[in-house]
Amino acid sequence: MYKRLLAGLLAATLRVDTLVARVYPDDFNPLYYTGGLANLFLTVLVLSGIFLFLYYTPSFDQAYTSVQFLTLDVPYGQIIRGIHRYSADGFMIVVLLHLFRNWFTERFRFSRDEPWISGMMLLTLTGFIGVTGYMLVWDQRSEALVAMTANAAAQVPLVGGWLRHALFGGTGLTDLLLPRLLFLHIGPAVGLYVFLWWHYTRIRHPKVWPPAVWTLFALGFVVLLTGLIPVTSQAPAVVSQRPQTLAIDWLFLTPYWAMRFLPPLVLIALAVVLIGYGLYIPYQLPETRSELGLKDSGVAQVIDANCTGCELCYYDCPYNAIVMVPSPNPGVTKAAQARKLRAVILESRCVECGICVGACPFEALELPRLLQKDIHEKVLSACQS
């Protein structure tokens, strides 16, 4: 069932690709650069966030006015604020595209679970950062969000009270609230970069930036949007009065909308299940190559006698599965006599793609069950048929 669904989604994804390819050449296809686009938006968020930070005062009586001052009186302040807001939406959109694309194209298979797991953590952090961002403005929506979150946190069994204290510095609205929220907005944003490092550790030459066409498009779209639909605050929060309405940002605040219909505890359980399932996705289909109907060629092997330590395989392995280590002895072939290094495969990372075989000019790498000899035989029999 799941497999059939996945196959259908893959076909749909590829069809979307061919549609995009009618307008954009392959190397400009934005769907191939969702990760790079996320990085672009993240950079914009950090830069505009620094600007906002310089003006923001985290206290009950000044938070709202400082944001209003920034928006209305600082030249282009509203534009920068809008860029921050809309880039956050853009970030979420491309991150979700990234998630679904890599899911549907099965890029979680074999030893690629680590980017997937770190990606799920990045997604969770992103949602959290988005919500605390909406709280910082300290308008009526912020107050409602704080109240709803505190209420939901307190209902978690066993750790509820502690959780609420950790998030908001105590019951009710304490003076600690806004400074703490400011940290909870910026601290996890720094954490994003820690997880990004993990996200990249097993990837050689990650595509960290989209092509110029899409850098310009994304920036232009965000800036144009800030001009057309300016970002404003709602009425200031009044502590004595329960807020009435909650304007929903569907990308970040959907859970708060759902709280109208479901008790918070159910939502928290749902979130835990969703995140848990997300972490499980790469292990749901633990198929080997032969189960997939592909030839099981085996993990790449270095033929030590031939390796010259030229590092070409090390540069080209897409999964960082090859390390160069100092070589204690020269190789056997003439070219390998003067080597200082030799290649070693980290077998747990190897996905048996064979790209290193194509990279090695000294015939020092082979896939054990698809040797150069086998290829030669196939070529010869093809030529003689």
């Binding site: 296809n29 650069y33 050689r204 070409l312 000019p361 150069q372 030669h376 070529v379 093809a382 030529c383």
Partner: protein, 182 residues
């Protein structure tokens, strides 16, 4: 085979030019495209060899095929940018370019070596592209390599072990330079 009549006889003459293609497991789905012996259903002169990733191909193998009687060789991977293994098709694209330049210096028509990029469900477009490639190769005179050595083509599978192309090495010296070419 419309090109049958006007084509000069060559090593594998009678059904059109002999073409060897390396096809990535993740690119065009081969079900329905190939027969049991690996030749393509619509183009019996084309034999496909399945490989785990287009980047697995050693350029020396393409040269090996040309030296042993193939009239044309190509590699097929996923659309550039959508490689399942991230950069395999970009790498082989660059390596094919380098091989073409090198073989051109040896008086081999570089058009005999192709790199195609088609996704899993693009079977029809792939067949069209292979047909176009085959027709182009059919228009080229004579075998791929000028016959200076007597019959390397006679080498059977048994004697075909590692030492093949004299130039198996310099063809790739620049390979890593192309790794960011996306």
């Amino acid at each position: 085979m419309p090109e049958l009549a006007d084509r000069p006889p060559s090593a594998a003459g009678r059904r059109g030019p002999k073409i060897v293609g390396f096809l990535c497991d993740w690119a065009v789905a081969s079900q329905g495209l190939v027969r049991d012996d690996g030749t393509m259903r619509d183009l019996p002169n084309v034999t496909l060899i399945k490989i785990p990733c287009s980047g697995f191909t050693r350029p020396a193998w393409l040269e090996f095929a040309l030296r042993n009687g193939a009239d044309g060789v190509f590699v097929c991977g996923c659309p550039l940018g959508d490689c399942f293994n991230r950069y395999g098709n970009n790498l082989i694209g660059d390596r094919v370019e380098q091989l073409r330049r090198r073989l051109e210096r040896q008086k081999v028509n570089p058009e005999r070596i192709g790199a195609l990029f088609y996704g899993k469900h693009a079977g029809a477009a792939f067949v069209d592209a292979v047909r176009a490639f085959s027709d182009r190769v059919a228009g080229m005179p004579g075998p791929a390599f000028p016959p200076r050595k007597p019959a390397p083509a006679a080498a059977g599978p048994a004697s075909a072990a590692p030492r093949t192309g004299p130039a198996a090495q310099d063809g790739q010296a620049g390979a890593p330079a192309g790794r960011e070419g996306t």
